[in-house]
């Protein structure tokens, strides 16, 4: 009789543990979803301000075309090409804004200062959002690699989380605040 009770207690404990782990994993997946949504929003925001700049006529035609092409590609990229397209936009922004004279040119254009501010916010927040996203991905991966999680399929049908890898280095002319 006591053996039966012990087995029941053990099963109950295992059940509680499994349920708790499933809840924990569920929370992590929700965190990844939120982080991914935030990252998407920041990337879109950056691409649209870049596109706006490219068509505003403040840069020379060559710079405008490079920036427009990169921003356009980043906005329309399919999921598989997204990381490459966004990295190329970062490179285009760095190339176009390599000199602080270019930033000055935007600032002097009509409606320029808020545009610069938005651009600075954009290039600063993309790396932030990406770090938070990849941090959530790492935490979820660590839990999903546990044996219990794999054996009992606690992750359900959720796809294995993938980090978002891209070049998000902002143009130095925008981040060097002591100068501005």
């Amino acid at each position: 009789m006591t053996t039966v009770i012990w087995i029941a207690v053990a099963l109950l404990l295992v059940g509680v543990y499994l349920s708790w782990t499933a809840g924990r994993l569920d929370r992590l997946h929700a965190r990844i979803d939120a982080a991914r949504a935030a990252l998407d929003a920041q990337l879109l925001r950056r691409a649209s301000i870049a596109q706006e700049l490219a068509t505003a006529g403040v840069f020379d035609p060559a710079a405008s075309m490079v920036l427009y092409q990169a921003a356009h590609a980043a906005r329309l990229a399919e999921d598989e090409q997204r990381e490459v397209a966004e990295s190329e936009l970062s490179q285009a922004l760095r190339a176009v804004l390599a000199e602080s004279a270019q930033v000055l040119a935007i600032r002097e254009a009509p409606g320029g200062p808020p545009m610069v501010e938005e651009l600075v916010a954009g290039v600063r927040r993309v790396p932030m959002a990406r770090r938070f996203h990849n941090d959530a991905v790492r935490a979820a991966r660590a839990v999903r690699r546990h044996r219990t999680v794999r054996w009992f399929r606690l992750a359900g049908h959720a796809p294995f989380p993938m980090a978002f890898e891209m070049d998000d280095e902002p143009p130095t002319s925008l981040t060097n605040r002591s100068a501005g």
């Binding site: 059940g15 509680v16 349920s19 708790w20 809840g23 924990r24 929370r27 992590l28 965190r31 979803d33 939120a34 982080a35 949504a37 935030a38 929003a41 920041q42 916010a121 600063r124 927040r125 790396p127 932030m128 959002a129 770090r131 938070f132 990849n134 941090d135 959530a136 790492r138 935490a139 660590a142 839990v143 605040r177 002591s178």
Partner: protein, 386 residues
């Protein structure tokens, strides 16, 4: 935004984290946000209107020193009530890896949580043992902030994951506009910090002082901070002792005036610093800075561009550098100018908007903060307490 900030240490005890939380809360309120700060405090401690007491902190020996902590059912209940009543868009907790109110909040709440890691303690034994318990709580943090690249590196090594670097803020104008005091001027060297705390480095400076006085007999050392003054000068030759002036504990206003008055500020700290707010304050007051080459200090001083560095714990190098600087007014003026422009990135206007950017990033696409009611199987089956 409705923002809840959790301060891990007693409000009535002065400390870097407490000041940071206070300044952040006041900055955010000035920006028009609704802020509530939960902090441990005695019942009779006067609290500012935005702060809520989490009850008295209990002194407990932890990790080699006495920590004042909150734990237990009562504290947890208070945290839950605060989280529930506050209805916050985002929670900002400080120092969550120590057993503190912050960790408790992390445990009791869900939703967008931002955490700032201040110290870069080596991983303690207790943390390794508690790791499986700690990890699920730390997993709830949606965004981590480290106060320096150095703090970020230790965080990544010890806990994994990643963090963004946002430095501690300083009210640059407060220091820049302070009035210099005539009696603290004229070939003066400043030092601010606990006298009896060897890691603050006063002994190194005392060993270097004879070398400095040999070349600059008119130089004076002004020391502001708590501790035994007699013991501090014990190693110094008797005739040199009157070149050292002890100011005791000084107010914030006097600290700003002292930094405005001195010809050179020396930070000989030997370790245990993860940021170096005092260097930022000195630069805000346009004081030329000479600091030991700790990782954190080198970072704040832009690798030596905004202030001079000397090899850690090397009193001779300190004396040589101080002599060179005191004899070269041109270099001092250059350091004053470089420091003043470099320090703008630490001003609350910059730091505050970066922290707000983090809040907005995590609050986007996530629900509001709420008490975590998912308490395992019982909760899942619908037996959760409300």
């Amino acid at each position: 935004m409705r923002i809840g900030i959790v301060c891990p240490y007693s409000w009535d005890v002065p400390g870097g984290v407490q000041f940071h939380v206070r300044d952040l809360a006041e900055h955010l309120i000035r920006q028009g946000h609704t802020v509530s700060v939960l902090a441990p405090a005695d019942e009779e401690t006067p609290l500012p209107p935005y702060a809520v007491s989490a009850g008295r902190a209990v002194p407990v020996p932890y990790n080699g020193s006495v920590a004042r902590l909150n734990f237990g059912f009562l504290s947890a209940a208070r945290v839950r009530r605060w989280v529930h009543d506050g209805d916050f868009d985002v929670l900002h907790i400080h120092e969550p890896a120590a057993p503190s109110l912050a960790l408790l909040t992390c445990w009791a709440a869900r939703g967008p949580i931002v955490a700032t890691f201040h110290t870069s303690n080596p991983r303690s034994r207790a943390m390794i043992a508690a790791y499986p318990i700690l990890q699920p709580a730390l997993e709830k943090i949606s965004a981590r902030i480290a106060v320096s690249e150095y703090a970020r590196r230790t965080l990544v090594e010890h806990l994994g994951g990643d963090a963004v670097v946002i430095p501690n803020g300083v009210d640059v104008r407060f220091f820049a506009s302070a009035e210099p005091k005539a009696e603290w001027q004229g070939r003066t060297i400043g030092f601010i910090g606990r006298i009896d705390e060897p890691r603050k480095g006063l002994p190194v400076l005392m060993r270097a002082l004879p070398g400095i006085l040999a070349e600059h007999p008119d130089a004076r050392l002004l020391v502001a901070g708590r501790g035994d003054e007699k013991e501090a000068v014990a190693g110094l030759p008797v005739p040199m002792r009157d070149r050292v002036e002890f100011l005791g504990m000084i107010s914030d206003e006097d600290k700003a005036r002292l930094l405005r008055s001195v010809d050179l500020y020396v930070a000989p700290n030997t370790g245990g610093e993860s940021f170096g707010i005092i260097l930022v304050e000195a630069m805000s007051a346009a004081a030329p800075v000479l600091a030991s080459d700790l990782d954190a200090f080198a970072q704040v001083l832009d690798g030596g561009a905004a202030g001079e560095l000397f090899p850690n714990e090397d009193a001779d190098a300190l004396a040589a550098a101080a002599n060179r600087l005191l004899a070269d007014p041109g270099r001092l003026a250059e350091l004053r100018e470089r420091g003043s422009s470099h320090v703008l990135r630490f001003d609350w206007s910059t730091v505050g908007s970066d922290i707000l950017a983090v809040y907005e990033t995590v609050a986007d696409g996530a629900g509001a903060v709420a008490p975590d009611e998912r308490v395992g199987l019982l909760g899942r089956l619908g037996f959760a307490r409300d």
